[in-house]
């Protein structure tokens, strides 16, 4: 893997699939205009009622949002049919969530569980967990739904979809150096490799700086959920949201440091998906004010 300096980003030689995912590059690279032009599709759905005034989610609104998003991703009208696109009655489904620091909201987890049930998966074959209890770690699963929360991360730039699997690696901390560039290695662990069917990002109340420790002044009620099947593409959209929010907050460019090299490496080395905006079709549904993408 090539090493980069700040100058590589400033002069654009780290652009393309690598640079486009990193905070120091030009931020006006557009997502694919039409689905046909894209390699990957990401659905962003937002609802201003998703977060109540006390910054707790409304479970009913959240479940409705998620079902709509999955329907659009699958191209189906019926939620059950849409969920069956990704999960099957004979699956043992692992829902890998984030339970520490900026945790995945229970309302999102419940909505994913309900979705798996709609697909016909018995409740007893739906496992939810994190860290030592992560589904697939000790208990075998046939399918995974990756359900992280959206947050900036002081070690990796962004700590979301790709980073959510670090706990599967036998030595998680060994993935910390070089801005956590090798996070994609965690996806190679045999117990989970190739089993991720769906990505659902809890963007209801994200954190745009100082993650993963909870720092309330950098959280905001975005009221969003992102879904997709390409983990790198979903992270690339999440990155764009965080970066735009940071710039808006400061009123000047506020690069997400360190640049999230792990996305580029997940793309080019581990081939987990695409980080290039022009290969990602982003479909936005619902509330559009301050969507940042």
């Amino acid at each position: 893997m090539k090493h980069y300096t700040r100058r590589d980003f400033l002069r654009g030689t780290a652009a393309g699939a690598l640079g486009a995912s990193m905070g120091l590059c030009p931020r006006d690279v557009a997502f694919a205009a039409e689905p046909g032009e894209a390699k990957s599709r990401v659905i962003l759905i937002r609802d201003e009622r998703a977060m109540r005034a006390d910054n707790t989610p409304d479970a009913r609104v959240v479940e409705t949002m998620l079902n709509k998003a999955v329907c659009r991703l699958a191209g189906k009208d019926d939620p059950a049919a849409a969920w069956k696109t990704y999960l099957h009655p004979d699956d043992t489904v692992g829902i890998k969530v984030t339970l520490y620091m900026i945790s995945t909201h229970k309302e999102v987890i419940d909505a994913v569980r309900a979705g798996a049930q709609k697909a016909g998966v018995p409740d007893g074959k739906i496992l939810v967990g994190d860290r030592g209890n992560s589904p697939g770690k000790d208990t075998p699963v046939t399918a995974l739904v990756n359900v992280p929360s959206l947050k900036a991360h002081h070690m990796s730039g962004i700590g979301c979809v790709i980073k959510n699997y670090i706990v599967y690696h036998p030595q998680p901390a060994s993935l910390h150096p070089d801005s956590c560039a090798e996070l994609g290695a965690a996806w190679e662990v045999p117990a989970i490799k190739g089993k991720t069917r769906l990505v659902v990002v809890d963007g209801l109340f994200p954190l745009f700086d100082k993650g993963p420790q909870v720092t309330p002044k950098y959280r905001w009620p975005y009221g969003g959920i992102l879904v997709g099947t390409d983990p790198v593409a979903v992270d690339a959209v999440c990155l764009r949201i965080l970066q735009a929010k940071r710039d808006a907050f400061r009123g000047e460019p506020w690069p997400l440091n360190p640049p999230p090299k792990s996305l580029a490496v997940a793309d080019t080395k581990y081939h987990l998906g695409t980080s290039a905006p022009e290969k990602i079709h982003l479909l936005k549904l619902g509330w559009d004010r301050d969507a940042f993408v």
Binding site: K2, H3, Y4, T5, R6, R7, L10, R11, L24, D54, N55, Y100, M101, R131, G132, K137, D138, H153, H154, M155, S156, G159, I166, P170, Q171, P172, A173, S174, H176, P177, D178, S179, C180, A181, K210, G211, P212, Q213, V214, T215, P216, K217, E252, P255, N257, P258, P259, K261
Partner: protein, 323 residues
């Protein structure tokens, strides 16, 4: 580009053992860390040997939980996963954690970080010094239910899960209690080397390693400046005539180390092998931005992102005079 390997030896994170060993260690971690705390809490500036006595039992109606959790350098990931690297980048010893609850209200979580020096407690604080000054510790910042402050070798972080007027008062009360009896300690002396003209208030940062540098100001994947736990770095933003310029001053253990780092910076960042030793120097880089570099004694000063060459020269000259 053939960059040197990052200096990871001393900052290599602890690696998690296999699952079973991890579980065993987790069971033992808290009591062992508490013992370690008891063994070392006589360090200057710490009020008490007794973790129980560190925390008040009550604050504005929030009652302390019986359990106090303790984590040291080897177990901090058990508490906060990768977030622990922030503290491991300094000479962090241990953290005590206690929760406070009140019927009908969300939790308050108090974390007391024991650093080896007041300088490092200050350094951790500079990761996020923005907020309201509520008069706790040597510097503090309160915002949206989170109070952070440092005093002596302690860095303290108190979080109300939901900010209400009552929770805010409880957080501040807890902070005052945790600051009591802790002797103040000196700030890093290197801060005095920052030229005062056009220095942006609250922008100073203090750290040691590459991990921190790339969080504050991404320079390169590799450890171009040869930072290590033994190096001291101050960084600050300057705003002359609307510009936003970053000044970095690195103090090495020896003049030779400073020379090596300066040469490596010239070679790898300025991409200039022939004149890598030239000091001072100002180079125009991409986007019309200027970089200034200076080697003086065992210090290296670097100016980044100056639009005007004159501003770069002035700031570098200011640093030269202060070093």
């Amino acid at each position: 580009m053939a960059l040197c390997d990052p200096n990871r030896n001393s900052e290599a994170p602890s690696q998690r053992p296999a699952t079973q060993r991890a579980k065993t260690r987790a069971r033992l971690a808290a009591p062992l860390a508490l013992l370690a705390w008891l063994a070392t809490a006589c360090a200057p500036g710490l009020r008490s040997m007794n973790p129980q006595a560190t925390f008040p039992d009550e604050a504005n109606g929030w009652r302390a939980a019986d359990r106090i959790r303790a984590f040291d350098r080897s177990t901090i990931f058990e508490y906060m996963d990768g977030a622990g690297e922030l503290y491991l980048a300094y000479d962090f010893r241990r953290v005590l954690v206690r929760e406070y609850t009140r019927p009908g209200a969300r939790r308050i979580i108090a974390e007391v970080y024991d650093m080896s020096s007041s300088q490092d407690a200050y350094g951790v604080f500079t990761h996020d010094p923005e907020g309201e000054d509520v008069g706790v510790g040597q510097d503090n910042a309160y915002a949206a239910g989170l109070l952070c402050f440092w005093k002596g070798p302690r860095f303290v972080r108190i979080l109300a899960e939901q900010e209400t007027p009552q929770a805010r008062q409880a957080v501040i009360t807890l902070g005052r209690s945790l600051a009591e009896g802790v002797a103040e300690g000196p700030r890093p002396a290197l801060l005095n080397r920052l030229p005062p003209d056009h220095l942006a208030a609250g922008s100073a940062r203090y750290f040691h390693t590459q991990v921190s540098l790339n969080y504050f100001y991404y320079l390169a994947d590799a450890n171009v400046l040869r930072l290590s736990p033994q190096t001291e770095v101050v960084m600050a933003v300057y705003r002359p005539k609307g510009e936003k310029i970053t000044l970095l001053i690195v103090s090495y253990e020896s003049r030779r180390q400073a020379q090596q780092a300066y040469r490596q910076f010239g070679r790898l960042y300025l991409e200039d092998t022939a004149e890598a030793d030239r000091s001072p120097r100002i180079e125009a880089l991409e986007g019309g931005r200027h970089v200034g570099a200076l080697l003086k004694g065992q210090c290296v000063a670097l100016v980044f992102d100056a639009v005007s060459r004159a501003a770069c020269e002035r700031l570098l000259a200011g640093a030269a005079a202060a070093l």
